[in-house]
């Protein structure tokens, strides 16, 4: 019977202040969801760091790029004056053959896909706010990454559906399909085995979807100090070309891109730079530079995550304090508004403990509803751990936000309560 009185009291309190209670639930729900998002980000950063730690260990990480200001050198290369193409190809082979490092060809490009149904978010440079749009609306210049054979194994990239690239995928013969693996967000647009027409480096190809990447797959890319999220990218092999045929524009353009990539090595920057310069001298290739930025990927990722983490922890603390303060102040307001009623209850034989139970029950009800909603929403939108994170957050907030109102209730004076009417 006494539990019934407490429960009835909670329900009456809720009904009496239903709009405020509703707003409290919404606020707690939003805070719990934000906490889940923060936790999800921390978890994601942590998994990125641990993943790269696993695959790269303590090795250093360098970017190889051509000099973007060397227009003369690039023009001479594209015209293949003085055998520039062969020189670069030799340099590329040196990069791949070097025993003291691993060279991974990985760079961003775009593919012109003949499909009008691709949303803008897949367009090249969409995230920079200046997406490249084709004049022909039935064609879309979408983001793409070309990768050498070892990129998947070095960075632990897998597929969620279909298959990974195999050795034969890195050699192209006329009339074949170019196998492509699509980022997670492409799942709603294209299907496994689908053939797409498109152009890559001004050459027309047929592309075949052979797999999809798992959500949140990240790959370090040349020229980028961190990694790129591949959810909106098409990943294609850095395939080789027919040596016997005449050197085409495609051959030259693709080689130029393939030389841009990542070196993973135990060597320090000075040694890597010295060897790169030596290979350039030996092959006579045009100027390529190696960049020390983010020379240790773990350090780079960790420092990013540490600054992000401290920011997120501040937001987390502020949000938690804000939620606890809101509940405490609002419930305290309810108590003051209900002083007279509490007086009547105490007059009728209620103990102060009954009022404490009612306050705890009311806060628990608010937090339970927000916990249930945020768990379900969080599980769908953020991570499977959302119910656990929401539960811990809800319990902590419920406990801490009860302290102040309970103290107020414990100090109530029945005599004063009745006289307040």
């Amino acid at each position: 019977m006494k539990i019934g009185i407490v429960w009835n009291g909670i329900i009456r309190m809720y009904k009496k202040h239903k709009w405020l209670a509703f707003l409290l639930i919404v606020q707690c729900f939003v805070c719990t969801l934000l906490i889940n998002m923060i936790f999800g980000t921390i978890l994601k950063t942590h998994s990125s760091v641990s993943k790269f730690s696993r695959f790269i260990g303590s090795k250093s990480y360098y970017w190889v790029n051509d000099d973007p200001d060397d227009n003369i050198g690039f023009s001479r290369y594209m015209k293949n004056q003085n055998g520039e193409y062969k020189k670069l190809k030799d340099f590329y082979e040196c990069l791949k053959r070097e025993q003291s490092w691993k060279f991974l060809s990985v760079d961003r490009q775009f593919i012109n896909i003949h499909s009008a149904g691709i949303p803008d978010k897949f367009l090249f440079q969409y995230e920079q706010g200046c997406p490249i749009e084709s004049e022909d609306k039935s064609k879309k210049d979408v983001k793409c990454l070309h990768v050498s054979k070892n990129v998947f194994s070095e960075f632990g990239v897998t597929v969620s559906e279909g298959r990974e690239f195999q050795n034969e995928d890195f050699h192209y013969d006329n009339g074949e399909y170019i196998p492509i693996i699509l980022g997670h967000e492409y799942k709603d647009i294209f299907s496994l085995g689908q053939i797409l027409d498109g152009e890559y480096l001004s050459e027309t190809f047929k592309f075949k979807v052979i797999g999809f990447l798992p959500e949140l797959t990240e790959i370090p890319v040349s020229g980028n100090t961190g990694t790129i999220l591949c959810d909106r990218y098409i990943v294609m092999p850095a395939f080789s070309f027919n040596d016997n045929s005449e050197i085409s524009f495609f051959d030259k353009a693709s080689l130029d891109h393939y030389v841009s990539g990542v070196i993973i090595s135990d060597l320090n920057f000075a040694d890597v730079e010295e060897r790169i310069n030596r290979y350039i001298l030996e092959t006579g290739a045009r100027k390529y530079s190696v960049n020390p930025e983010g020379s240790n990927v773990i350090k780079s990722l960790t420092s990013v995550s540490e600054s992000e983490l401290s920011r997120l922890i501040y937001i987390f603390i502020i949000l938690t304090i804000f939620t606890i303060a809101s509940i405490s102040i609002t419930v305290n307001g309810f108590i003051r508004e209900n002083y007279y009623e509490y007086g009547v209850h105490l007059l009728s034989g209620a103990t102060p403990r009954f009022l404490v139970k009612q306050i705890i029950g009311f806060i628990t009800l608010i937090m339970s509803i927000s916990f249930a909603i945020s768990s379900i929403v969080g599980m769908f939108l953020i991570s499977n751990l959302a119910p656990l994170v929401s539960l811990i957050f809800s319990v902590v907030v419920a406990l801490l936000s009860s302290v102040f109102p309970i103290n107020v209730v414990k100090k109530v004076d029945v005599n004063n309560l009745i006289r307040r009417q």
Binding site: I5, L346, S348, G349, N415
Partner: protein
């Protein structure tokens, strides 16, 4: 042994410069079945005294003994139980919860006493019949007259068969005739053997009682039997 005894009771509110001595060295002995009026001007300490007798507040010093038990050393939970089992309280403002029906208001002490539903229904019916409120049980206090509200308040006070019935200015919010009717209820309760203590500043009401305790500035100025 006296039924109820107050020994050297003092009650102080506030601290330092704001300290107010509401009761100063009060000594009273009350026997079973007495009908007592506590009178005096506003602020003389009569309601404070009634609250201590009713277990609504504790004295700052002194001892309050009820049937041999020292109530003044009780904690809040023990006081709540003491109130529920022994004290019926009626106040000028009726102390009814506005969004509860008359039935639920009267049933409240019975619920806190842990009574079962059928016992509650039976007891509330007895009380509403006695107070002529049988047809008003599903009404809310705002739908009743002042007299009906006070009768509902009396019904609730009587719900757990209290040993002492305390009334703080019970007719203050009522017209003369309704007030007389309420006082007749108190008299009949007293005739049934219940100890009734009424706080009032109305001398006509006081004259209806058997004993009058007159207070002045937190002390007992006069204590005399009227009949």
């Amino acid at each position: 042994m006296d039924f109820l005894e107050l020994k050297n009771i003092c009650k102080t509110f506030g601290r330092g410069e704001n300290e107010v001595k509401a009761l100063k060295d009060i000594n009273i002995k009350i026997g079973k079945g007495e009908l007592i009026a506590i009178t005096g001007k506003s602020g003389c300490g009569k309601s404070t005294l009634l609250n201590i007798i009713g277990g609504l507040s504790l004295p700052s010093s002194g001892a309050y003994i009820f049937e041999g038990s020292k109530i003044s050393s009780y904690n809040q939970n023990e006081l709540a139980s003491f109130r529920n089992r022994n004290i019926g309280f009626v106040v000028q403002s009726f102390a009814l919860i506005n969004d509860m029906t008359i039935f639920d208001n009267i049933a409240l002490p019975l619920k806190y006493a842990g009574k079962k539903s059928f016992e509650i229904n039976k007891r509330v019916k007895e009380l509403t019949d006695k107070m002529e409120l049988s047809d008003k049980t599903s009404f809310f206090p705002s739908q009743l007259s002042g007299g009906q509200c006070q009768r509902a308040s009396i019904a609730r006070a009587l719900a757990c068969n209290p040993r002492v019935f305390l009334a703080d200015e019970p007719t203050g919010a009522l017209d003369e005739q309704t007030g007389k009717n309420i006082l007749n209820i108190f008299k009949s309760l007293n005739e049934g053997g219940m100890t009734v203590i009424i706080v009032t500043h109305d001398l006509e009401i006081a004259s209806m009682c058997n004993r009058r305790i007159e207070m002045k500035d937190g002390t007992i100025f006069n204590d005399y039997n009227l009949k």
